[in-house]
Symmetry: D2
């Protein structure tokens, strides 16, 4: 079996503090479907960390589920959603936005996963009577699928464009923590304070077992979200265990520590890997994703040892993800394997 | 906060052996989305316990998710699904079968939650050209929402009716274990051996944290189920933890022990409760559900102490569920509270 | 080929005045999609005949299309629609309400196609948190599928129940004209004045070629209906020809004359048919539907000559529909064929 | 009211021969929903003109309806459809492919509305496990939205690419007749003989009132299409009038005559318009669409007189459509108006 360590940040296990919270929540009977204290505590923690005391918070077990719930709860059946052509929404959710959320996606050309106000404006379809969907949401990913980030000012600029055109701004924040760490800023600065309207707030990729949250930051948004959550199959019965996970992450600084570790190791990996002959970074590392262009004769052999996604097969760009648990030894093994495959002597060993 | 102990079997926590399995699975990196050994082990265990070596097994975190995946993967957009008018599918899933699975439900009058071949036959719409959906699946719940069961022979008779009319037989088995224990038979006898085509196999209500499985028993069924699972938001990234739960339940006899305990305590509760004046069983207890008709002046006061569902408000029929963790003390407290509210002296104390 | 004359009121052709209007509208170029004078005139006529000067009127070519548009434009994805278990919506639209409109139908037991406030109240699901859809619309058929009618007072009573429970009242009025004639009242009395919120107003069954209208009677309803109409494929490009049809019907009294003729001939047919031995009316004739219980040895032979629907196969209840073009000769032929098949001498001939 | 003559080919009326066929079909009773001789005759004519004796033919009133029925009947819920980024499917159907047909669209960059095998191949997503829809259909428009055409050889090349990747080839043929005339070839040469699997065959834009057909050319395709047609609201009850229209067009050479006239007048218009100062063709005219780049000071004033679509607002490219009824006088008026607005003397008058 191929080594899973850099395949994705969801190849990592559960952070010990999160696991301890799960075990601790296993204490007798508790009302199902979220009417329990752990869920309540998670909601409080999330509202606080986003500086959004009135926000509606809905816990779910899946990131795609979070995105679908977020979009579905704020749109009607004749609405569209603008997103990057690289967005997880568009490329990696098997049509769930269209078929389960029930919206048409309209893609915007992205550079390194990022959208600009100009690109968004250009992609808004002309007022076309009844022959086109109405763009109701602009969705961005933070950190993006290419590991890049939007600064608070950039998010605010996109919020302004969105609002000027009658759209809400949604952030797919499966890796929002990694972006905050990279920018050395708060989660609130990247969302509530920047004019974001709703967020899919990640947990699983940052040390949880299966826990995400949809957060409606603007009052009045997300009416009926509870029924939507059930209808799209995202209502977990023993919700307390989801609540416990998110509480563990967000009531204190665990979310930061996990993301900071992951980002730090991505930098370490990026420094180590460029020493391998013929390997170069496809773009600078901002968060916990390392994209490298592999030499033609290394790609296939390396894939026999380590699992990874070939992000751009034509250019042989591989994606490696670090996580809260990535060790220096992990990095040494990956780089060492590469050097061995290249016939290089590993000086460090 | 009201006492949750009898509100539902999903008010119970996680069985210690299941929790231990979750903790044990937290061991380094593992490929996401089910390409891990724990998932593989769960699949093997489930195929074995259902005596279906060729079955397709798909793990999901939610029972509604299991039903939606099961129905969606075997139907087209112009198909219908017959189910009891009391079915969870119809009454408790917020339209997920119609809106997320994409099938029209056609309800069949049930008695105590159970369907008969005669009732099913009468509910099949006449061949109506292109003006009606084609019933493609008959779905039954085992144990039913009223806690009743179908014997293997009764399941086989329904399978025969279903197949004779070009339908598959689906079993919503969120409490299949409880039915097997009640009938002192195997899970295979209630499914594979009885002609069932596909099953939503429960875990969460029987000691797991969030783990169910869709099992396609008939070869060739469920093509594309993996994509359907992703599209309906039921693909968990850190799947190993779902696999660990179901492996813990089904690789040995834990599923039987949990269900046997719950059923046993339901019998105990049913015996204890009829001693309270004015209280009577609404129907005999078969599995882990106890339905009681409450005196008019007991219903509201009791609801201040214990959470429960009023299954039939007109007749004041309350539903109490026992679980793998229900203790004699729990039963004593519920019955004691009732006696106290009725002004009766509790002889036992 | 079997005689189609009583198979349905849509077996009839197009009334000459409607056809003349179609031909007259074929006059040079006109903007498509409804921006033409014929459409505008139809809208004015319909608002007037319903006494609803502010109503939103949307023309469509199909009755099922009208129902789907009506329901879709006033509901969200987590809403339900209450309707009779005999409703066209539920039995004859191949799941379009669920799969194309995107709502869950909740059926109410009907007597002779009619609902009562009591039956509606009993069918409203209990407030069930997030586990059930919210009934957002009560839909009745006028005249019903059994040819029966609701008086204005009965409609008003159902409107009151609907509104008291947060529902809109929708009338599937494919045969509203026949009901108005039967009750000797106006279309407005059966809709706007009785508290109805939205109507599918028929045309095709009453002399048109393919023309229906969705009318949102209450101001503010039906936002985005134009986009919904396009999305569900009900936006006709050369809309002027739909407008011409409905203008022909509703700008004057053609709608009344057509329906009055059809109703009158249904009475004539019902009187003639009971003279055939062994044949009896299944229920009194109110509009243009005649339901007869056929003797066991007449049913199949008659069906070789005349096409008709067996509404209740068990009781051999056949449905015959009269239309704007039914002649006395048509009736004589049907009855004569029956008598001949029964071996009776036809005294009239 | 602005002049509608060049706004679209659906601004034209109904060809007299088609209208005569409609009037002729209004002859007594006929079974509804397509069980009539006119529908049968249309099916025969369409099979013949496409040289596809076994084809399944389904009549509908709307072009978007035809596309939705075609795609829905050959796909499952986890399938995708590749189409040009300029496709009517993607830009002008308000999300009907996604929300009513139930497929995810994947767009391919087009040049002048046309796709190449290379562009299609590049747009096929990598085999991405369960995280992406499976492209099941490649849909092209013939003639395209830019009025361009694919030769039979080009269609065959796209069919080859489609089939090599497990896709069917669908042709949105709302203007297929115009393409056949432009290429001086048969409808069969552009479809059946070129490996096309299914076609939306136009009628309305080519002289009909409201009539299109979905044709499944490959045996076995389109199972359940009748139920799909009803469910998406495209089953017309008085189908004989749709049958009469398509029979009038396709039983003889009327389809050719109408399209030939329209194409011829587009050439005439293109020649006349370039004489206006500052006006130039945006691309050569192939069929019945004329795209012109307007001078900055002509665009708005002209739009006060003539209705047209601004296809590319940035470049002020207007689209004018000719139809079966466009006269030389129509062209003179349009060009004359332009010259007058430009302050030019009209020599011809």
């Amino acid at each position: 079996m191929r080594d899973a360590r850099f395949a994705s940040d969801n190849a990592a296990g559960v952070h010990p503090e999160v696991m301890a919270a799960i075990v601790e929540a296993n204490d007798g009977a508790a009302l199902a479907y979220g009417a329990d204290p752990w869920t309540a505590r998670a909601e409080v923690a999330i509202r606080r960390v986003l500086d959004a005391p009135e926000a509606g918070v809905w816990l779910v077990p899946s990131g795609t589920g979070a995105n679908v719930l977020a979009l579905r709860a704020v749109t009607g059946r004749i609405d569209g959603v603008l997103c990057a052509d690289t967005a997880h929404l568009h490329r990696s959710e098997t049509g769930a936005p269209e078929l389960t959320a029930g919206v048409k996606l309209l893609t915007v050309p992205a550079v390194d996963g990022r959208l600009t106000p100009r690109a968004v404006r250009a992609a808004i379809p002309p007022r076309d009577g009844d022959h086109a969907v109405r763009p109701a949401v602009l969705s961005i990913t933070q950190a993006t699928e290419w590991g890049t980030v939007y600064t608070p000012a950039e998010v605010a600029a996109l919020a302004e464009v969105a609002h000027a055109h009658g759209m809400l701004l949604h952030v797919d924040g499966a890796r929002l923590a990694n972006a905050a760490v990279a920018l050395d800023t708060s989660l609130a600065a990247l969302t509530t304070h920047a004019g974001v309207d709703l967020v899919s707030l990640g947990g699983t990729k940052n040390g949880a077992l299966a826990a995400e949250a949809v957060v409606f930051l603007r009052p009045g948004l997300g009416k009926g979200a509870g029924r939507h959550r059930k209808q799209i199959t995202q209502l977990v019965s023993k919700m307390r265990f989801v609540g416990a996970q998110l509480s563990a992450l967000y009531a204190g600084d665990l979310w930061w520590r996990c993301a900071a570790h992951a980002n730090h190791q991505a930098q370490a990996l990026s420094r180590a890997v460029v020493a391998v002959s013929g390997v170069r970074l496809a773009l600078p590392v901002s968060t916990n994703a390392v994209f490298v262009e592999l030499p033609v004769d290394l790609c296939a052999p390396l894939a026999e040892h380590f699992a990874f996604e070939l992000w751009d097969p034509a250019r042989r760009i591989a994606r490696w993800m670090t996580a809260w648990d990535t060790t220096e030894g992990d990095i040494r093994q990956l780089v060492g394997t590469m050097r061995a495959l290249r016939g290089e002597v590993d000086d460090e060993e």
